[in-house]
Symmetry: C2
Subunit: 200 residues, 2 copies
């Protein structure tokens, strides 16, 4: 089978990262998430902390920034978070060039949209499931967990909308959207593996 990339976007608390990791294990292909950030940080010389917080405060749109500051060699004038995004995008294209893999987050579906070798997946779940996840994973009381879910999703959607010019969670951007609050994680993994093998 030829090279294929699985990109996974996910709501906070939907187990999207776990699903991505276990899909990569099932298919015996590399998995990139925080690892991606580390590689990017090492390659570009930016600190790892900066990359980790890169999705905190984007405003406006990347296209607007590029229209102000130019592209290519002129990126030294771009705001720092845009430079970080462009560096990350370069890393995403690099690892995708190397062979089949799973990439979670970082708008990878958008960065790789010009290739038809991607299976783009979105994992979502109802609020009850996600707040429950945040309680258990972070040892938080329910009201704090609820706040955390809202805050992180807001951050992810702002980041996605800013860098892609699209709307986070629009099913038309994805080949497969799965509700992990209704379909168990093991079945989600089987479904993604099935889709990966059958992809046109």
């Amino acid at each position: 089978m030829s090279k294929r990339i699985i990109t996974i976007s996910r709501e906070f608390g939907s187990s999207g990262r776990e699903i991505g990791k276990r899909v990569a294990e099932a298919l015996d292909i590399p998995f990139y998430d925080n690892e991606l950030i580390t590689i990017a940080a090492q390659k570009s010389g930016y600190s790892e902390e900066l990359f980790r917080d890169a999705d905190l405060h984007p405003t406006g749109s990347l296209l607007f920034s590029l229209s102000l500051y130019g592209t290519g060699g002129a990126t030294f004038d771009l705001p720092l978070n845009d430079k970080v995004f462009l560096a990350q995008s370069e890393i995403i294209r690099d690892v995708a060039d190397q062979g089949s893999c799973v990439i979670v987050g970082r708008c990878a579906n958008y960065v790789l949209e010009d290739t038809n070798q991607c299976l783009n997946v979105f994992i979502h779940a109802d609020n009850f499931t996600r707040v429950d996840y945040a309680c258990k994973e972070n040892g938080l009381p329910k009201n704090k967990a609820k706040e955390m879910v809202q805050k992180i999703d807001k951050r992810r959607s702002t980041y996605y909308n800013y860098y892609t010019g699209k709307k986070w969670g629009d099913m038309n951007d994805f080949d497969l959207c799965i509700d992990s609050g209704r379909i168990p994680v093991d079945t989600c993994i089987e479904i993604i593996v099935e889709a990966y093998k059958g992809l046109k």
Copy 2:
């Protein structure tokens, strides 16, 4: 395994009906689509043609009509298309009560939303795939096929939005959304069967 209902909503030309029919065959459970309309027509005494055209011209919202005309015994005052919808909803609940089945269209995911025994699926595809389908299935030239796709989707979304008060194609209303333009029909069927068996 206990009773489970698969509801399928679909964009025109996405092969959603074929997928639903073949999923029902694979699981050896009944399939309802136009059959549903016929049963409803026979049961209620309305003509079959009326049911077939029921999604042509809804405007406003069903809740608004109900607030004007009342519910239950008072439905004789409702506009005809609302009466048809309520009769269809009764049929959908009836067949769902009888056992596992696949129901395509007619807002079945909404009608059965109070049961947790449903796997709600949305099948979509890119415009190129859908126009190509309309050309082949209806022997139309490309421009006419394009018009047909737009017109039927507009009708389906208006119908869904009117009767459910929700937005057609919002992934949060579905457990599984699949792009049949990217994932072959055979794989779509395998994925739905897998999800049906694994449903929480």
